[in-house]
Assembly symmetry: C2
Homo-oligomer: 95 residues x 2
């Protein structure tokens, strides 16, 4: 039951995260093209800001999904390593 | 003289920015691979944080270079549009 639930969660958010990562990669490619073409600095900055925001949102989705599923499981099973790893990840992500 | 200086600045920072953008794209591709391979959420988050930081630094380089060169020129020539565009870009970038 737990495995099945975990399985369906993985598929659901994994695909959304992969799609967002693909879009962010495409967006960065277009920013690179803008810089190569000598586009206006202000325009490039606005697109860089959009990519930064997109990457941040991807991190948030992964974090929320992780808390909802993996961490909830870890609390039930008393797996401290998962909580410690999460703490390290949040510390790096919030910087 | 101004054109020559501007030209050399463009080449100098443009190449550094393009190299950093290429590395960030490669980094995001590897994060996508991690997610596809079902790697640990905490590990993925740490890499996402690294990409976010890299994208932020690219923005900073563009911004600093823009201020040092284009904006300095705009102040000399009294070009308000450049300053307004910069203000909009900073507003979006700092969010």
């Amino acid at each position: 039951m737990t495995t099945e639930y975990h399985h369906s969660h993985e598929h659901e958010s994994t695909q959304a995260v992969i799609n967002r990562l693909s879009r962010a990669i495409g967006h960065l490619e277009s920013v690179k093209k803008m810089v190569e073409d000598g586009k206006d600095c202000s325009e490039v900055l606005i697109q860089i800001a959009a990519v930064k925001s997109a990457v941040n949102n991807i991190g948030k989705i992964i974090l929320q999904d992780h808390i909802k599923h993996c961490v909830a499981d870890a609390v039930t099973t008393g797996d401290n390593k998962v909580l410690n790893d999460l703490s390290v990840a949040i510390d790096k992500f919030m910087k």
